[in-house]
């Protein structure tokens, strides 16, 4: 009995010490104000929730923001655009993240577009197909085209990989290609990363994913001859693009830290950060 009490006490003391260590580091020296600070120190917790496509961009922004404002804790839950909008509406998150524009039915929300992102059409690295027209893409995803040879590839069946119904990526893809509600999927995954993984491990697969997440694991085909890059998104020649949106509730007052974070995402400092993460800052 005594041993247990002893162990528990030690454990609790250890935890409190850890906590104590952290808080003692945060007391800034009074009096000396460094010349570059523009505002009083921000603190608090900001909860962000939503799009998995925005993962890299948001994670980079969070880290850069935290470096300048160490007292602020920002959390990010990658649950999907639809979920992010729901979270902002219900107030369970401070900032909802959506990789599509708000629908008319989604009222009571303010949308701040922070970046533009391209939806890359990805195939397996072994696939010889280099270019697809929008018509061909529509055919592949609706099941009209069932063999890769019909679009210039090998004689092999087509495995269609997509996202869950609430996904901003799926919504953007389906509306631009014009195949809303008509796609026949072989797999419906819940994140952009999962689609990339599935396509990279299946030689017959085709899918769509956020440009910011695409890596050398998969091959992104040119659409109507246009490669998906930051430049072609910016000048509009790459057709399949959508906005990265920070969604906030119109009725709920945002904390100072949250407001500052959104302003940070729109600032000049963030241009390079967003570019490094693979998207284009919205101007």
């Amino acid at each position: 009995m005594k041993k247990m009490i002893g162990l528990i006490t030690v454990f609790v003391i250890a935890l409190t010490l850890l906590a104590g260590c952290n808080s003692s580091q945060q007391t800034s020296s009074p009096g000396t104000t460094p010349p570059n600070t523009t505002a009083p120190k921000l603190s608090g917790t900001i909860s962000t929730n939503g799009s998995t496509s925005m993962e890299k961009v948001v994670a980079s922004l969070i880290e850069a923001f935290k470096a300048e404002n160490p007292d602020v804790t920002i959390t990010y839950d990658a649950t999907g655009s639809g979920s992010g909008i729901t979270a902002a509406t219900e107030g369970t998150a401070d900032i909802g993240l959506s990789s599509r524009n708000l629908k008319d039915s989604e009222t009571g929300l303010d949308a701040t577009i922070i970046a533009l992102d391209g939806i890359a059409i990805i195939v397996n690295n072994t696939n010889v197909v280099d270019n697809l027209t929008i018509e061909q893409i529509a055919g592949l995803f609706t099941g009209e085209i069932t063999n890769w040879s019909q679009v210039g590839g090998a004689d092999a069946p087509v495995a269609v990989i997509g996202r869950e119904a609430g996904s901003g990526t799926r919504d953007g893809f389906e509306s631009i290609i014009g195949v809303t509600e008509e796609c026949i999927y072989d797999q419906e995954l819940t994140s952009t990363g999962a689609v990339i993984t599935a396509v990279s491990s299946n030689q017959y697969a085709i899918g769509y994913a956020s440009l910011s997440a695409v890596s050398s694991e998969v091959k992104s085909v040119t659409v109507e001859g246009v490669q998906c890059t930051e430049d072609t998104i910016l000048d509009g020649t790459y057709a399949i693009q959508r906005p990265f949106v920070m969604v906030t509730s119109s009725s709920k007052e945002l904390s100072a830290a949250a407001k500052a974070f959104i302003e940070f995402a729109l600032s000049d400092e963030a241009t390079e950060i967003i570019a490094n993460a693979g998207a284009v800052q919205a101007r």
């Binding site: 729901t86 869950e164 609430g166 072989d186 797999q187 419906e188």
Partner: protein, 288 residues
């Protein structure tokens, strides 16, 4: 002395409250399930909901038929049992009747370890090893399938079946077996014609436990089954009752959200029925 009396009364009250918490928890969960699940069923219609074959929850004209999910869960659980039950019972027989003490101890540790592995780990291996293997073996264009889920579930329910069956087999009175030997039966005949039937109710309890685990599994299955709302086929991507909830829960709103609660209610009722059967089977076993 008064203080002592007050302490006594307080402590016994406290303990009573603790006991009530368990009941309160069950009642809260059941009430929540029923209250949240009924509206969608009323709106969609019970037979359309339970027997409709199309689930299009986010379409402009949404349809909420959950028959694909129900059938997938049923087939998946049946399939998992088909594979897992024989292997499980035989392993239990091995542990209880055939293995030497040292071998039995080692294998037992292995089974306990299997029981403790988190379901996401099974999902991970399923995703990386099983899905590509199925794709290659059966020359499919896509490996995520009901088959993958069945295999993963079968492995996951093995420990439950093994440990409960083993306990049941070890509890068979020695006299039964000795009488069987005395009558000239071989060891195998004794095991299959005397011990196993005698341990019937315990083994059944183990199987029902396994069924409960299989029908309630979400994460591992989500990583290998493809998550498309198809009517089940062994090599098609499928969605279970559990994964249907998991997939859409975070972003659903309005009728879609209520439909998800209704799926949870259906699942809940399934589990209740299984529990009731378990209790009935156990009681019957006790009477013998």
């Amino acid at each position: 002395m008064k203080i002592k009396a007050v302490m006594e009364k307080t402590m016994s009250c406290l303990f009573f409250i603790c006991g009530m918490v368990t009941i309160a928890a069950v009642i809260t969960i059941s009430v929540y399930m029923v209250l949240s699940g009924i509206p969608a069923i009323k709106e969609v219609g019970l037979s359309e909901f339970l027997f409709g074959q199309v689930w299009k929850s986010t379409a402009a004209e949404p349809q909420f038929g959950i028959l694909p999910f129900i059938l997938t869960s049923v087939y998946g659980t049946l399939g998992a049992c088909l594979v897992g039950v024989p292997v499980g019972i035989m392993t239990a027989v091995f542990l209880a009747k055939i293995a030497s003490t040292r071998v039995a101890a080692t294998v037992n540790t292995a089974v306990e370890l299997l029981a403790g592995i988190p379901s996401v780990v099974y999902g991970l291996i399923g995703m990386i090893v099983l899905v590509p293997a199925i794709m290659q073996l059966f020359q499919l264009k896509n490996g995520t399938s009901l088959l993958a889920a069945i295999i993963v579930l079968a492995v996951m329910i093995l420990p439950s079946i093994i440990s409960v069956s083993r306990t049941a087999l070890m509890a068979v009175p020695k006299e039964y077996e000795e009488a069987s030997y005395a009558l000239g039966a071989t060891k195998m005949e004794t095991i299959f014609k005397v011990s196993i039937p005698a341990a019937k109710s315990g083994i059944a309890a183990g199987i029902v436990l396994g069924i409960g685990r299989a029908i309630g599994e979400a994460m591992a299955v989500m990583m290998v089954a493809g998550n498309v709302a198809n009517m089940p086929g062994l090599f098609k991507s499928v969605t279970f009752l559990t994964t249907a909830i998991a997939k859409e829960m975070s972003y659903a709103s309005g009728l879609q959200k209520q439909a998800l609660y209704s799926i949870a209610l259906v699942l809940f009722i399934f589990i209740m029925i299984i529990n009731v059967i378990l209790n009935a089977v156990l009681k019957r076993g006790d009477k013998r």
